[in-house]
Amino acid sequence: MKHLDEYRDPHLAGKLIDKIKALSHRPVRLMEVCGTHTVSIFRSGIRSLLPPSITLLSGPGCPVCVTATEEIDKFIKLSQQKDTIVATFGDLIRVPGSSSSLQKARADGADIRVVYSTFDALDIARRNPSRTVVFLAVGFETTAPTIAAAVKEAKKEGIDNFYIIPAHKIIPPAMEALLAGGELAIDGFICPGHVSVIIGADAYRPVADKYHIPCVVAGFEPVDILQTIYMLLSQIEEGKAIVDIQYRRAVNFTGNEKALALLAEVFETCDAPWRGLGVIPDSGLRLRDNYRALDIETKFDLTVPRAQDHPGCSCGDILRGVKTPLDCVLYRKVCTPSNPYGPCMVSTEGTCAAYYKYHD
Protein backbone atom coordinates (compact mmCIF):
# COMPACT_ATOMS: atom_id res chain seq x y z
CA MET A 1 0.00 0.00 0.00
CA LYS A 2 1.15 3.51 -0.80
CA HIS A 3 2.59 5.60 2.06
CA LEU A 4 3.10 2.40 4.03
CA ASP A 5 5.18 -0.27 2.30
CA GLU A 6 7.97 2.23 1.55
CA TYR A 7 8.49 2.69 5.28
CA ARG A 8 8.49 -1.02 6.08
CA ASP A 9 11.32 -2.07 3.73
CA PRO A 10 13.57 -4.41 5.74
CA HIS A 11 16.56 -3.75 3.46
CA LEU A 12 16.30 -0.01 4.06
CA ALA A 13 15.81 -0.61 7.79
CA GLY A 14 19.04 -2.64 7.76
CA LYS A 15 20.94 0.21 6.11
CA LEU A 16 19.63 2.67 8.68
CA ILE A 17 20.66 0.36 11.52
CA ASP A 18 24.18 0.21 10.03
CA LYS A 19 24.27 4.01 9.90
CA ILE A 20 23.05 4.24 13.50
CA LYS A 21 25.72 1.75 14.65
CA ALA A 22 28.43 3.72 12.85
CA LEU A 23 27.33 6.94 14.52
CA SER A 24 26.71 5.63 18.05
CA HIS A 25 29.80 6.31 20.15
CA ARG A 26 28.44 6.70 23.67
CA PRO A 27 25.41 5.70 25.75
CA VAL A 28 22.28 7.71 24.96
CA ARG A 29 18.76 7.51 26.31
CA LEU A 30 15.91 8.43 23.95
CA MET A 31 12.29 8.65 25.03
CA GLU A 32 9.41 7.84 22.71
CA VAL A 33 6.61 9.95 24.11
CA CYS A 34 3.73 8.39 22.16
CA GLY A 35 2.12 5.06 23.02
CA THR A 36 1.63 4.15 19.36
CA HIS A 37 5.39 4.56 18.86
CA THR A 38 5.97 2.27 21.85
CA VAL A 39 3.84 -0.44 20.25
CA SER A 40 5.46 0.05 16.83
CA ILE A 41 8.97 -0.17 18.33
CA PHE A 42 8.11 -3.41 20.15
CA ARG A 43 6.24 -4.96 17.25
CA SER A 44 9.06 -4.32 14.78
CA GLY A 45 11.75 -5.55 17.18
CA ILE A 46 13.73 -2.29 16.91
CA ARG A 47 14.97 -2.49 20.50
CA SER A 48 16.81 -5.73 19.82
CA LEU A 49 18.39 -4.41 16.61
CA LEU A 50 19.87 -1.23 18.07
CA PRO A 51 23.40 -1.16 19.49
CA PRO A 52 23.47 -1.61 23.30
CA SER A 53 24.58 2.02 23.67
CA ILE A 54 21.06 3.20 22.76
CA THR A 55 18.31 2.87 25.36
CA LEU A 56 14.71 3.57 24.39
CA LEU A 57 12.38 4.70 27.18
CA SER A 58 8.61 4.79 26.95
CA GLY A 59 6.96 8.02 28.03
CA PRO A 60 3.57 9.36 29.14
CA GLY A 61 1.89 9.13 25.72
CA CYS A 62 -0.95 6.71 26.29
CA PRO A 63 -4.04 8.81 26.98
CA VAL A 64 -5.85 6.18 28.99
CA CYS A 65 -2.74 5.49 31.05
CA VAL A 66 -2.20 9.10 32.13
CA THR A 67 -5.84 9.62 33.08
CA ALA A 68 -5.70 10.13 36.85
CA THR A 69 -7.43 7.62 39.12
CA GLU A 70 -9.61 10.41 40.52
CA GLU A 71 -10.85 11.09 36.97
CA ILE A 72 -11.76 7.40 36.53
CA ASP A 73 -13.61 7.54 39.87
CA LYS A 74 -15.48 10.58 38.61
CA PHE A 75 -16.45 8.80 35.38
CA ILE A 76 -17.79 5.89 37.43
CA LYS A 77 -19.79 8.24 39.67
CA LEU A 78 -21.16 9.90 36.54
CA SER A 79 -22.29 6.55 35.11
CA GLN A 80 -24.37 5.97 38.26
CA GLN A 81 -26.44 9.16 37.80
CA LYS A 82 -30.12 8.72 36.97
CA ASP A 83 -31.13 8.70 33.27
CA THR A 84 -27.56 9.07 32.10
CA ILE A 85 -25.79 7.43 29.18
CA VAL A 86 -21.99 7.53 29.21
CA ALA A 87 -20.31 7.41 25.80
CA THR A 88 -16.60 6.58 25.69
CA PHE A 89 -13.76 5.28 23.57
CA GLY A 90 -13.32 1.56 24.28
CA ASP A 91 -10.04 1.25 26.12
CA LEU A 92 -11.19 3.36 29.08
CA ILE A 93 -13.79 0.79 30.10
CA ARG A 94 -11.42 -1.61 31.84
CA VAL A 95 -9.16 0.90 33.59
CA PRO A 96 -9.35 0.34 37.34
CA GLY A 97 -10.40 3.27 39.51
CA SER A 98 -10.02 3.30 43.31
CA SER A 99 -12.52 0.50 43.86
CA SER A 100 -14.32 -0.20 40.59
CA SER A 101 -14.13 0.33 36.84
CA LEU A 102 -16.58 1.45 34.16
CA GLN A 103 -16.83 -2.19 33.13
CA LYS A 104 -17.95 -3.19 36.62
CA ALA A 105 -20.33 -0.21 36.76
CA ARG A 106 -21.83 -1.39 33.49
CA ALA A 107 -22.26 -4.91 34.85
CA ASP A 108 -24.11 -3.29 37.77
CA GLY A 109 -26.54 -1.63 35.39
CA ALA A 110 -24.95 1.65 34.26
CA ASP A 111 -25.61 2.53 30.61
CA ILE A 112 -22.09 2.87 29.18
CA ARG A 113 -21.64 2.74 25.42
CA VAL A 114 -18.44 2.46 23.43
CA VAL A 115 -18.26 4.78 20.45
CA TYR A 116 -15.77 5.17 17.63
CA SER A 117 -16.19 8.92 17.18
CA THR A 118 -17.56 11.90 19.10
CA PHE A 119 -20.26 12.25 16.46
CA ASP A 120 -21.50 8.75 17.37
CA ALA A 121 -22.05 10.13 20.87
CA LEU A 122 -23.98 13.06 19.38
CA ASP A 123 -26.19 10.56 17.54
CA ILE A 124 -26.93 8.78 20.81
CA ALA A 125 -28.00 12.14 22.26
CA ARG A 126 -30.27 12.83 19.27
CA ARG A 127 -31.92 9.42 19.62
CA ASN A 128 -32.38 9.70 23.39
CA PRO A 129 -33.71 13.22 23.99
CA SER A 130 -35.07 12.41 27.46
CA ARG A 131 -31.69 11.18 28.76
CA THR A 132 -28.44 12.91 29.57
CA VAL A 133 -25.62 11.76 27.26
CA VAL A 134 -22.06 12.44 28.39
CA PHE A 135 -18.91 11.85 26.36
CA LEU A 136 -15.76 11.12 28.39
CA ALA A 137 -13.37 13.58 26.78
CA VAL A 138 -10.07 11.79 27.28
CA GLY A 139 -7.14 12.15 24.89
CA PHE A 140 -4.36 14.39 23.67
CA GLU A 141 -4.27 17.21 21.13
CA THR A 142 -5.16 14.77 18.32
CA THR A 143 -8.48 13.86 19.90
CA ALA A 144 -9.40 17.22 21.44
CA PRO A 145 -10.34 18.93 18.13
CA THR A 146 -12.73 16.07 17.31
CA ILE A 147 -14.43 16.72 20.65
CA ALA A 148 -14.44 20.46 20.03
CA ALA A 149 -16.19 19.77 16.69
CA ALA A 150 -18.90 17.74 18.44
CA VAL A 151 -19.36 20.36 21.17
CA LYS A 152 -19.74 23.08 18.57
CA GLU A 153 -22.19 20.98 16.56
CA ALA A 154 -24.28 20.19 19.66
CA LYS A 155 -24.54 23.88 20.46
CA LYS A 156 -25.34 24.79 16.87
CA GLU A 157 -28.09 22.17 16.60
CA GLY A 158 -29.38 22.86 20.11
CA ILE A 159 -28.87 19.27 21.28
CA ASP A 160 -29.34 20.18 24.94
CA ASN A 161 -28.90 16.71 26.44
CA PHE A 162 -25.30 16.32 25.18
CA TYR A 163 -22.44 17.01 27.58
CA ILE A 164 -18.78 16.19 27.96
CA ILE A 165 -16.56 15.67 30.96
CA PRO A 166 -13.31 17.37 29.93
CA ALA A 167 -10.25 15.34 30.90
CA HIS A 168 -7.89 16.21 28.05
CA LYS A 169 -4.14 16.37 28.41
CA ILE A 170 -1.59 18.39 26.46
CA ILE A 171 1.75 16.76 25.66
CA PRO A 172 4.51 19.46 25.69
CA PRO A 173 3.88 20.55 29.32
CA ALA A 174 4.21 16.90 30.39
CA MET A 175 7.55 16.61 28.58
CA GLU A 176 8.74 19.70 30.42
CA ALA A 177 7.43 18.36 33.74
CA LEU A 178 9.41 15.14 33.20
CA LEU A 179 12.60 17.10 32.62
CA ALA A 180 11.96 19.61 35.41
CA GLY A 181 11.46 16.69 37.83
CA GLY A 182 15.16 15.95 37.34
CA GLU A 183 14.85 12.23 38.16
CA LEU A 184 15.36 11.14 34.58
CA ALA A 185 18.24 11.71 32.18
CA ILE A 186 16.98 11.99 28.60
CA ASP A 187 19.24 12.78 25.62
CA GLY A 188 16.52 13.12 22.99
CA PHE A 189 12.78 12.94 22.39
CA ILE A 190 11.06 10.91 19.68
CA CYS A 191 8.07 13.26 19.47
CA PRO A 192 4.54 12.03 18.79
CA GLY A 193 3.36 11.88 15.17
CA HIS A 194 -0.32 12.70 15.22
CA VAL A 195 -0.30 15.08 18.18
CA SER A 196 2.24 17.00 16.09
CA VAL A 197 -0.03 16.92 13.02
CA ILE A 198 -2.32 19.17 15.05
CA ILE A 199 0.06 21.29 17.16
CA GLY A 200 3.03 21.50 14.76
CA ALA A 201 6.64 20.77 15.65
CA ASP A 202 7.28 24.32 16.90
CA ALA A 203 5.37 23.34 20.05
CA TYR A 204 8.49 21.44 21.21
CA ARG A 205 10.80 24.45 20.94
CA PRO A 206 10.54 25.27 24.67
CA VAL A 207 11.69 21.70 25.44
CA ALA A 208 14.61 21.87 22.99
CA ASP A 209 15.67 25.40 23.95
CA LYS A 210 15.19 25.39 27.71
CA TYR A 211 16.54 21.90 28.40
CA HIS A 212 18.88 21.58 25.40
CA ILE A 213 17.28 18.30 24.28
CA PRO A 214 16.93 17.39 20.59
CA CYS A 215 13.33 16.72 19.53
CA VAL A 216 12.41 14.92 16.30
CA VAL A 217 8.82 14.21 15.25
CA ALA A 218 8.55 10.63 13.98
CA GLY A 219 6.24 8.63 11.75
CA PHE A 220 5.00 5.23 12.92
CA GLU A 221 6.64 2.72 10.59
CA PRO A 222 9.96 1.00 11.41
CA VAL A 223 11.95 2.99 8.83
CA ASP A 224 10.42 6.24 10.15
CA ILE A 225 11.50 5.42 13.68
CA LEU A 226 15.01 4.31 12.66
CA GLN A 227 15.52 7.48 10.62
CA THR A 228 14.34 9.50 13.63
CA ILE A 229 16.84 7.75 15.90
CA TYR A 230 19.56 8.49 13.35
CA MET A 231 18.52 12.17 13.20
CA LEU A 232 18.58 12.40 17.02
CA LEU A 233 22.01 10.74 17.22
CA SER A 234 23.37 13.14 14.61
CA GLN A 235 22.20 16.09 16.68
CA ILE A 236 23.61 14.62 19.90
CA GLU A 237 26.98 13.96 18.24
CA GLU A 238 27.10 17.53 16.93
CA GLY A 239 26.01 18.98 20.28
CA LYS A 240 22.83 20.41 18.75
CA ALA A 241 19.36 20.54 20.30
CA ILE A 242 16.87 21.59 17.67
CA VAL A 243 13.34 20.61 16.73
CA ASP A 244 13.18 18.64 13.51
CA ILE A 245 10.63 16.55 11.64
CA GLN A 246 11.19 13.10 10.15
CA TYR A 247 7.43 12.62 9.50
CA ARG A 248 7.28 15.39 6.90
CA ARG A 249 4.52 13.83 4.84
CA ALA A 250 2.16 14.55 7.73
CA VAL A 251 3.68 17.16 10.02
CA ASN A 252 4.83 20.75 9.56
CA PHE A 253 6.17 23.28 12.04
CA THR A 254 3.01 25.29 12.60
CA GLY A 255 0.35 22.57 12.81
CA ASN A 256 -3.19 22.23 11.51
CA GLU A 257 -4.58 25.78 11.52
CA LYS A 258 -8.20 24.74 11.21
CA ALA A 259 -8.01 22.28 14.11
CA LEU A 260 -6.06 24.73 16.28
CA ALA A 261 -8.62 27.49 15.63
CA LEU A 262 -11.47 25.17 16.61
CA LEU A 263 -9.60 24.09 19.74
CA ALA A 264 -9.01 27.70 20.73
CA GLU A 265 -12.65 28.60 20.13
CA VAL A 266 -14.03 25.82 22.33
CA PHE A 267 -11.33 25.14 24.94
CA GLU A 268 -8.87 27.02 27.11
CA THR A 269 -5.95 25.54 29.02
CA CYS A 270 -6.16 24.65 32.70
CA ASP A 271 -4.11 22.72 35.24
CA ALA A 272 -4.67 18.97 34.97
CA PRO A 273 -3.88 15.86 37.05
CA TRP A 274 -1.75 13.19 35.35
CA ARG A 275 -1.27 9.70 36.68
CA GLY A 276 2.33 9.44 37.85
CA LEU A 277 3.13 13.09 37.22
CA GLY A 278 0.68 14.88 39.52
CA VAL A 279 -0.95 18.18 38.61
CA ILE A 280 0.86 19.91 35.72
CA PRO A 281 0.11 23.61 35.13
CA ASP A 282 -1.66 24.43 31.85
CA SER A 283 -1.60 20.82 30.70
CA GLY A 284 -5.36 20.29 30.42
CA LEU A 285 -8.31 21.77 28.55
CA ARG A 286 -11.61 23.08 29.91
CA LEU A 287 -14.56 24.50 28.01
CA ARG A 288 -14.57 28.26 27.49
CA ASP A 289 -17.40 30.30 29.06
CA ASN A 290 -19.35 30.26 25.82
CA TYR A 291 -19.49 26.44 25.90
CA ARG A 292 -19.21 25.87 29.67
CA ALA A 293 -22.88 24.76 29.91
CA LEU A 294 -21.88 21.57 28.07
CA ASP A 295 -19.56 20.57 30.93
CA ILE A 296 -21.49 17.91 32.87
CA GLU A 297 -20.07 19.20 36.14
CA THR A 298 -22.32 22.26 35.76
CA LYS A 299 -25.23 19.81 36.12
CA PHE A 300 -24.03 17.07 38.49
CA ASP A 301 -21.81 17.20 41.57
CA LEU A 302 -19.13 14.66 40.69
CA THR A 303 -16.83 15.27 43.65
CA VAL A 304 -15.14 12.01 44.64
CA PRO A 305 -13.11 10.98 47.71
CA ARG A 306 -9.33 11.03 47.45
CA ALA A 307 -8.28 8.34 44.95
CA GLN A 308 -6.54 5.13 45.98
CA ASP A 309 -4.26 3.26 43.57
CA HIS A 310 -3.27 -0.34 44.16
CA PRO A 311 -0.22 -0.01 46.46
CA GLY A 312 1.94 -2.32 44.34
CA CYS A 313 1.12 -0.72 40.98
CA SER A 314 4.11 0.99 39.32
CA CYS A 315 2.21 2.67 36.46
CA GLY A 316 3.12 6.13 37.75
CA ASP A 317 6.86 5.39 37.73
CA ILE A 318 6.59 3.60 34.38
CA LEU A 319 4.84 6.62 32.82
CA ARG A 320 7.73 8.81 33.99
CA GLY A 321 10.23 6.38 32.48
CA VAL A 322 11.99 5.79 35.82
CA LYS A 323 10.87 2.15 35.99
CA THR A 324 10.15 -0.48 33.37
CA PRO A 325 7.40 -3.07 33.83
CA LEU A 326 10.14 -5.59 34.72
CA ASP A 327 10.74 -3.56 37.90
CA CYS A 328 7.10 -3.89 39.01
CA VAL A 329 6.21 -6.54 41.60
CA LEU A 330 2.76 -7.11 40.09
CA TYR A 331 3.80 -7.37 36.42
CA ARG A 332 3.05 -10.81 34.92
CA LYS A 333 2.67 -12.38 38.36
CA VAL A 334 -0.82 -11.05 39.04
CA CYS A 335 -1.19 -8.12 36.66
CA THR A 336 -1.93 -9.36 33.14
CA PRO A 337 -3.98 -8.05 30.21
CA SER A 338 -6.92 -10.21 31.30
CA ASN A 339 -6.61 -9.07 34.93
CA PRO A 340 -5.01 -5.59 34.85
CA TYR A 341 -4.13 -3.78 38.08
CA GLY A 342 -3.15 -0.54 36.38
CA PRO A 343 -3.92 1.32 33.15
CA CYS A 344 -0.56 0.59 31.48
CA MET A 345 -1.63 -3.07 31.30
CA VAL A 346 -5.15 -2.22 30.08
CA SER A 347 -4.51 -0.09 27.04
CA THR A 348 -3.09 -1.77 23.96
CA GLU A 349 -0.60 1.11 23.77
CA GLY A 350 0.29 0.93 27.45
CA THR A 351 3.93 0.12 28.19
CA CYS A 352 3.06 -2.90 30.37
CA ALA A 353 0.74 -4.36 27.72
CA ALA A 354 3.46 -3.87 25.07
CA TYR A 355 6.05 -5.56 27.30
CA TYR A 356 3.63 -8.38 28.06
CA LYS A 357 2.93 -9.03 24.41
CA TYR A 358 6.37 -8.53 22.89
CA HIS A 359 9.07 -8.79 25.58
CA ASP A 360 10.58 -12.20 26.32
Binding site: K2, L4, K19, T142, P145, F220, E221, V223, Q246, N256
Partner: protein, 76 residues
Protein backbone atom coordinates in the same frame (compact mmCIF):
# COMPACT_ATOMS: atom_id res chain seq x y z
CA UNK B 1 -4.26 4.69 19.84
CA UNK B 2 -3.30 6.44 16.63
CA UNK B 3 -4.24 4.83 13.36
CA UNK B 4 -0.91 5.00 11.61
CA UNK B 5 -2.13 3.91 8.20
CA UNK B 6 -3.16 6.61 5.69
CA UNK B 7 -6.50 5.96 3.97
CA UNK B 8 -7.36 6.84 0.38
CA UNK B 9 -10.34 9.10 -0.36
CA UNK B 10 -12.91 7.37 -2.59
CA UNK B 11 -15.84 9.74 -2.39
CA UNK B 12 -16.68 13.13 -0.92
CA UNK B 13 -20.10 14.32 0.31
CA UNK B 14 -20.22 17.73 1.98
CA UNK B 15 -18.82 17.23 5.51
CA UNK B 16 -17.80 13.61 5.09
CA UNK B 17 -15.64 11.41 2.89
CA UNK B 18 -15.59 7.68 2.27
CA UNK B 19 -12.05 6.40 2.71
CA UNK B 20 -10.47 3.04 1.99
CA UNK B 21 -7.52 1.11 3.34
CA UNK B 22 -6.89 -2.28 1.75
CA UNK B 23 -10.61 -2.88 1.23
CA UNK B 24 -11.76 -1.54 4.61
CA UNK B 25 -14.08 1.40 3.99
CA UNK B 26 -15.14 4.01 6.42
CA UNK B 27 -16.95 7.35 6.50
CA UNK B 28 -14.87 10.12 8.07
CA UNK B 29 -15.71 13.72 8.90
CA UNK B 30 -13.85 16.55 7.21
CA UNK B 31 -14.41 19.30 9.84
CA UNK B 32 -10.77 19.59 10.88
CA UNK B 33 -8.71 18.29 7.96
CA UNK B 34 -5.96 20.79 7.08
CA UNK B 35 -7.12 21.25 3.48
CA UNK B 36 -10.12 19.86 1.57
CA UNK B 37 -9.04 16.54 0.04
CA UNK B 38 -9.92 15.44 -3.48
CA UNK B 39 -10.74 11.90 -4.58
CA UNK B 40 -7.53 9.86 -4.71
CA UNK B 41 -5.75 11.79 -1.93
CA UNK B 42 -4.45 9.97 1.13
CA UNK B 43 -5.59 11.22 4.52
CA UNK B 44 -4.62 10.51 8.11
CA UNK B 45 -7.67 9.52 10.14
CA UNK B 46 -8.18 9.86 13.88
CA UNK B 47 -11.33 8.82 15.77
CA UNK B 48 -13.61 9.21 12.76
CA UNK B 49 -12.09 12.48 11.48
CA UNK B 50 -9.63 13.12 8.68
CA UNK B 51 -6.94 15.26 10.32
CA UNK B 52 -4.41 15.68 7.51
CA UNK B 53 -3.95 15.23 3.78
CA UNK B 54 -0.65 13.50 3.07
CA UNK B 55 1.81 15.92 1.50
CA UNK B 56 2.92 14.09 -1.65
CA UNK B 57 5.85 16.48 -2.27
CA UNK B 58 7.25 15.95 1.23
CA UNK B 59 6.76 12.18 0.89
CA UNK B 60 8.82 12.27 -2.31
CA UNK B 61 11.64 14.18 -0.58
CA UNK B 62 11.77 11.56 2.20
CA UNK B 63 11.86 8.75 -0.35
CA UNK B 64 14.66 10.53 -2.23
CA UNK B 65 16.63 10.63 1.00
CA UNK B 66 16.15 6.88 1.33
CA UNK B 67 17.43 6.43 -2.22
CA UNK B 68 20.51 8.46 -1.29
CA UNK B 69 21.16 6.06 1.59
CA UNK B 70 21.24 3.21 -0.91
CA UNK B 71 23.38 5.22 -3.31
CA UNK B 72 25.93 5.93 -0.52
CA UNK B 73 26.24 2.23 0.02
CA UNK B 74 26.79 1.27 -3.63
CA UNK B 75 29.38 4.00 -4.22
CA UNK B 76 31.60 2.76 -1.41
Amino acid sequence: MCLAVPMQVLEIKEDTAVVDMGGTRRAVRLDIVDRPPTVGDYVIVHAGFAIHCIDEEEAKITLQYFEEIFADETSR
